[in-house]
């Protein structure tokens, strides 16, 4: 390892994010290079100073009380929670959206479109994936079996990039939450928020009518047939 390679890894070394082999390489380099040892000491001092200057603010008095009160007194919110917990709300929402999709004339169009924009809206043909599992290289079948409840779905484009799904509107939230959606090929229209990859969905067309029935879950086409490279 030379000095340039060491400099490139200093922040990772400080954060404890270097793989063990690279950390040992860095250590060997430090044993032999006093200049880089000085640089590391300097970066440690700079990081310490920066953390000291990024002082933590405390939540204002009263905020916790207001939150506790809001959690207890808002009937609409606690009602929604009970609906979700009852289990049938998500299924009803999926069914309602599927009916809406069936009624849309554009649903029958299976034309594959590349991502584009028109009138401020963004459209594209996407595959629903488990974002974390997909990045880890797991198959769609493995993704659908994933039980990590923290994992959320995202929309994967043909070029391998992702759109994450905005929590609004609520009618499309199931696409973000339901593991059974993974592997579905969709044509979506929405708006990307403020230069991000977060898409606020406006319409969703399913491109494979054979997979519309929830009863067919968890059967999913193999990755090669889903349009995912």
């Amino acid at each position: 390892m030379n000095c340039k390679a060491f400099h490139d890894r200093i922040f990772l070394l400080q954060a404890g994010e270097l793989p063990e082999a690279e950390r040992l390489d860095c250590q060997s380099h430090l044993d032999a290079c006093e200049a880089c040892l000085d640089r590391l000491r300097f970066e440690d001092a700079a990081l310490g100073a920066l953390k000291a200057k990024l002082a933590r603010a405390s939540a204002p008095p009263g905020l916790e009380t207001r939150i506790r009160a809001a959690l207890r007194t808002d009937p609409a919110r606690s009602g929604r929670v009970r609906w979700y917990r009852a289990g049938w709300f998500a299924a009803a929402a999926v069914a309602a959206v599927l009916v809406l999709l069936l009624l849309r004339p554009s649903f029958r169009s299976a034309e594959l479109l590349t991502p584009g924009t028109a009138g401020g809206a963004t459209s594209g043909t996407v595959t629903v994936v488990d974002l974390d599992c997909d990045r880890a290289g797991r198959s769609l079948e493995q993704q659908r079996r994933c039980t990590q409840r923290l994992h959320l779905n995202a929309l994967k484009l043909a070029d391998g990039t992702y759109w994450t799904i905005d929590t609004d509107p609520a009618e499309f939230r199931y696409l973000m939450l339901d593991p059974r959606e993974r592997g579905q090929t969709l044509r979506v229209v929405g708006r990307l928020l403020g230069g991000t990859n977060v898409i606020r969905l406006e319409s969703v067309d399913r491109l494979d009518a054979r997979r519309l029935s929830p009863a067919r879950y968890p059967r999913v086409l193999p990755a090669a047939a889903s349009g995912v490279p």
Binding site: L50, R56, A59, P60, L63, I67, V81, L193
Partner: protein, 203 residues
């Protein structure tokens, strides 16, 4: 999560989530740069989190889960309405940070007591201004990594971005902020620009 009556569920949520209030407020303040908006954002985050509490897996990192909801809420409610800060030219920062350090190391074989030098008299506002100049997505990563000490993987999960993007944003953000510290120290004469003080011995 357990399926008890609503009041039990509320209490369970409060026990798990409310200890993170200061951390959420810090991140919210960093994103909104306004205490009133930060309070509203935190309250909305908790209400949303409560609605989705079933999707939280007990034993996993509650702070990262709440950060994820806060960040989504921020994008929904605030970000679209706000003007973006003046963009930082990170390519320029990258070069000037390295140049500044190399210059100091060239002039002074070992910078004198860097901890003291960097902390001496640098007002907090200096760093707060530098933070405010960072785009929101950089501020979020810096706060999560440096204040909350989340791992790169946890930050990637909270922000729905690849780990490589976390690294890139954090490293660029750090260089921008540390450059402000160094620049201030140099302007105050803590790091001398006078070649006569050099002790020689370029690296």
């Amino acid at each position: 999560m357990s399926q008890g009556p609503p009041h039990d569920r509320t209490a369970e949520f409060e026990t798990v989530a409310l200890p993170q209030l200061d951390s959420l407020f810090n991140l919210a303040l960093s994103l909104t740069r306004n205490r009133k908006d930060a309070e509203d954002l935190v309250q909305e985050t908790y209400l949303r989190a409560f609605r989705f509490f079933d999707s939280y897996e007990p034993g996993t990192h509650i702070k990262a889960w709440l950060f994820r909801i806060l960040r989504n809420t921020f994008i929904n409610r605030y970000r679209a309405e706000r003007a973006r800060p003046e963009e930082v030219d990170f390519d320029k920062i990258e070069g000037s940070y390295e140049a500044l350090i190399e210059e100091q190391f060239r002039r002074n074989r070992r910078p004198p007591d860097p901890e003291r030098a960097l902390l001496a008299g640098v007002p907090d506002e200096q760093i707060q201004r530098a933070m405010a100049a960072l785009p929101e997505e950089y501020r979020a990563v810096v706060i999560m990594a440096l204040l909350e000490e989340l791992s790169y993987k946890e930050i990637a999960g909270a922000l729905s971005i690849p780990i490589g993007t976390v690294m890139s944003r954090l490293h660029r953000g750090r260089k921008h902020l540390q450059r402000e510290l160094l620049d201030y120290a140099r302007r105050r004469g803590i790091f001398s620009d006078d070649p006569d003080v050099s002790t020689g011995g370029a690296t």
